[in-house]
Symmetry: C2
Subunit: 154 residues, 2 copies
């Protein structure tokens, strides 16, 4: 194997700061979302993805793809949310392409109530400390990494 291209001090520092920001930011967002709205971050993510599409309904398989979750994790999550009346699962015995998940009126109410305080937290913890240039730089950088991930084969 070729010689290891270790990170230099600056890269090491950047990488650790980035990982630490991700972790602490996600923890803070989850904590405040739960306090403001009784939704977990995964509940919120599922509801955002569902209410983003026409009729607020998606095949389980399409939702798993769009969330980038394992099917089994999503099934458990949907079962929990269905018990709380936030979504329903509609089986499609006809076409063999699997069940739909649909937002209920309660689910829609939950996300509509959760979104304003959540976006305020995102502003306070993130956008309020970034300049316009930071936002642009972060977008460009994220898309470059996403392009790389898209074409990368180990």
């Amino acid at each position: 194997m070729a010689e290891t291209r270790w990170l230099d001090d600056e890269e090491q520092h950047a990488w650790r700061s980035y990982l630490r920001m991700n972790k602490l930011l996600e923890a803070a967002l989850a904590r405040e979302l739960q306090a403001d709205s009784q939704l977990s971050l995964p509940d919120f993510e599922v509801l955002v993805h569902l209410t983003d599409v026409p009729d607020a309904r998606l095949r389980v398989s399409a939702l798993a793809r769009s969330l980038q979750w394992e099917k089994s994790r999503l099934s458990h999550q949907i079962a929990r949310m269905a018990r709380r009346g936030l979504v329903t699962r509609e089986e499609c015995p006809d076409d063999g392409r699997g069940a739909f998940v649909v937002v209920t009126p309660d689910g829609r109410r939950a996300i509509e109530e959760a979104a304003p305080p959540h976006v305020e937290t995102v502003r306070q913890l993130f956008f309020d400390v970034l300049t316009d240039d930071d936002v642009k730089a972060l977008t460009v950088l994220s898309e470059r990494v996403l392009d790389r991930l898209d074409t990368h084969t180990p």
Copy 2:
């Protein structure tokens, strides 16, 4: 409550790109780490934190703080890693301040073998597509968000 400061299109785009990058990058790093070394990302994180300190031993409580994990999550993780011989748990009945976690020789070998391919993946998926300015911008931005998180009270 004051009017919601919704994200504008550019911010929305930045936020979604950033979240998506985090998620897909972490998934790819976890997949390749597991394929190269049979360590999960949490195994790797625990070993990095332990081998970063003198004697490669930490109190469970200090390790939990430094990883920013719940104590119960860390206990399960340590139990699993102890069964695989990567760490040992040393009880301290004397001082009442709780057990230590210590890296075993096998744990040290595991992280030493895992690190080179892992850092190569981090390079290929992340640093290889960033300029020096991107790296600087990301560091500054991460630290500003971390400072905000540090002083923020909901």
